[in-house]
Amino acid sequence: MPIIVNLDVMMAKRKMSLNELSERVGLTLANLSILKTGKAKAVRFTTLEAICEVLECQPGDILEYQAE
């Protein structure tokens, strides 16, 4: 898929573990894992909002488009 999820990059920048992010965002580890590995088919605005709030970033920092 040409949409790349850069969640791991943002987590590394903020020095935050997946467990901590999962607790603070209120998502299960399994769901966060799906998002991180790029297997997700859709992201809810509420999820994106919570992630951006916790990681103090913009949606564009997490999602990126790369032509195939």
Partner: protein, 183 residues
Amino acid sequence: MNKNSKTRTEKILFAMKVLIWIFFIGNCIKTGALAYTFFVSLSINPNAAADLYLGLDLSQLLERDGFHYSFLVMNLIFLSAARAFLVYLVLKIFLTLNLKRPFSIEMASLIKRISIIAISLGFVNLLVRAYAGWLLGNSPSVGYLAEYLYGSSEFIFFGIIIFIIGKVFQYGLELQAESELTV
């Protein structure tokens, strides 16, 4: 789904499961009895053809033509077994149904199989009914046979409806997969 409606659904499903078990056992008994009396009528005592199962009298046909008798009764046994198998597949739906995750590939394939078998059963039923009509003409045995060759058009109609439901189910399966990958 709230708790009350969930309990009600579970009760309805349980009642349906019991009913389907009864249908299944009934059909198995009917198939077994037909097969047994057919075997007895051919190999031990031809008088058994006078009461194959619950008054089904094909003794005149046996006296007239053994081949047609065997072919007709084998078709009746096949139809009865196919009906039992159809009921078994419906029962399997109830046994594998998971209300928390109702859409599964297994369930979709079961629904598809049920629809195909029901439609085929309807057509075979039609053919056997026509064959029995040709064979027995106005003999009173046709009246007995009506009980065994019922509902061909109903089976076809049922099969088509189930096929359409199967297609909707397939779409539900895709939606469920998408929903599971939505975070």
